[in-house]
Amino acid sequence: MYLMALPGLLYFAVFHYFPMWGIVIAFQDYNPFDGLMHSEWVGFDHFTRLFKHPDFWLILRNTLVVSILNIVFFFPAPIVLALLLNEVRTAFFKKSVQTVIYLPHFVSWVVICSLTISLMNSEGVLTKLVHAMGYPQLQLLMDKSLFWGIITVQSIWKDAGWGTIIFLAALAGISPDLYESAKVDGANRWQQTIHITLPCVMNTIIILLILRLGQVMNISFDQLYIMGNPLVKEVAEVFDTYVYQAGVLQGNFSYATAVGIFKSAVGFLLIITANYISKKTSEHHLF
């Protein structure tokens, strides 16, 4: 039995726990030639540099704004969609719609961004459309004021359909008896939805919302990296793209690690807090 688990445990030790030890380089002036053991220790220098850096506040703002837009607009979308699907009585229609709306989830961000770009570049159909309607700008993708909106719409388009799965599972678990007795009492479909369906899936909604709050710091690198361009950098840079830029491309390993630690630490705190809140407010919790 232990032999069976060995390769997997080894994997976690090497690729997850060993890098956790690697965070010591954030407190050093890491130099690849001197290695981990011989690089000079600098204490919290990289962190003070980070907090003083104007970029830091930009990244933090962008991360929070994109996450909050996601929670406000993307999070409710699958719930509404699942409720609408649940009202569909024609099995064939329901199944077809489900198959189609799951599809974008399987497509990479590169492809989704390519589609967006070909719709919205200076010759794109959408650009021509909004231009005809009187919007002056022709370079929609280089417009800072549109960037966050585009990112949010992309996320909804990609994963709102996929997100319905978990809610549809919860909806399928509601006892038909409840609806029967509601009908006897003369409740119409709207009243049934408000008084039966929603309370029954409320727990699922709360749990998922709390889990989502724990992920505020995590924003898709792929999406932001591909959609970003020099003109929208100010609104597009988030933690992961910044770490990649500063660490991998520019070789400031120690500084970039410090940025990564800040992100991981805040993310960790958020998850712990989210779990604590869900423990207090309902019987559901993760650990």
Binding site: P7, T99, S108, S122, Y244, I261, K263
Partner: protein, 290 residues
């Protein structure tokens, strides 16, 4: 009563219409790309929305397939998807099964160690330096090994294995199977829905992988389709390059990009219907328990 019925009917009509419209919004961009990729380039450049191909031509696809490193890139992507998914599934099943045995000493601690990695990580740079020091830079292994196991999938597998009756294990032991025999001859076959689902998840993640490919691969011979598509995107969005494709060279750049989108999307979408049968069931199990 009659008024109520009418309200209900109006809602149904509106609901069906809204969902149908949504489905169209989800599928149409793909259809448009597919159709445009086999339409004559000069028509595509005019930028109209089209429902059917006009002046049917496969020039964009032949251009792609004749590009020197395209075949290599395609092979790379298939390789990391097939082999990577296999490695991932094998390691995941081997790890999750012992961890699902509550009687096994240390199983809970090990499960927690796996779970903890979902909450805290060393970050991008330590992982990058690790891959570098292991000599995996610029190899396809860097796209399969560092991300071989997804902790969330382990959690799903553990909770699924826990629902299986223990008598199965006992009967296997009576028939003389060892632990590996029990796992692969009894447990895996009856866990097909969940295994198919996770296989799909791993395969999609491998095929669509971008971040790691950007980080670890700089040699064009080891590119994957997603990276190549992104390269095309950069080259072809700059108007200067579009203009430099002179009059006599057919302006196929625009359809090449579309054909590239088709090539890097369709193969993974083809996997979906095969696994869908299991997958609807597996996803429910995963989502309810997980």
């Amino acid at each position: 009563m009659k008024k109520l019925r009418f309200g209900s009917f109006a809602f149904d009509a509106g609901n069906y219409a809204a969902l149908a419209l949504l489905a169209v919004l989800m599928i149409f961009p793909f259809w448009n790309v597919l159709v445009s990729s086999i339409t004559a380039p000069h028509l595509v450049l005019e930028g109209a929305i089209r429902l059917w191909p006009e002046q049917l031509t496969f020039v964009a696809f032949t251009t792609i397939f004749n590009t020197p490193n395209f075949v290599k890139v395609f092979q790379n992507t298939v390789f990391i998807t097939v082999i990577g998914t296999f490695i991932s599934m094998l390691l995941s099943v081997l790890l999750a099964y012992p961890l699902s045995k509550k009687r096994l000493a240390g199983a809970n601690a090990m499960a927690f160690a796996v779970f903890f990695t979902m909450m805290f990580s060393g970050g991008i740079i330590p992982s990058y330096l690790l891959v570098k020091s292991l000599g995996m830079m610029n190899t396809l292994w860097s796209l399969m090994i560092p991300n071989a196991i997804n902790a969330f999938n382990i959690m799903i597998l553990i909770s699924f294995f826990r629902t299986l009756p223990e008598e199965l294990e006992d009967s296997g032991r009576i028939d003389g199977c060892n632990d590996f025999g029990i796992l692969f001859r009894i447990m895996v076959p009856i866990s097909m829905p969940i295994i198919a689902t996770l296989t799909l998840f791993y395969a999609v993640a491998q095929w669509n992988m971008f971040f790691q490919a950007v980080m670890y691969i700089s040699n064009p011979n080891n590119y994957t389709l997603q990276v190549l598509l992104r390269q095309l995107l950069i080259v072809l969005t700059s108007d200067a390059v579009a203009a430099s494709l002179s009059e006599d060279v057919p302006r196929i750049g625009v359809t090449v990009k579309l054909a590239m989108i088709v090539v890097s999307t369709v193969p993974i979408l083809l996997v979906y219907p095969f696994l869908q049968k299991h997958f609807a069931k597996g996803m429910m199990l995963g989502s309810v328990k997980g």
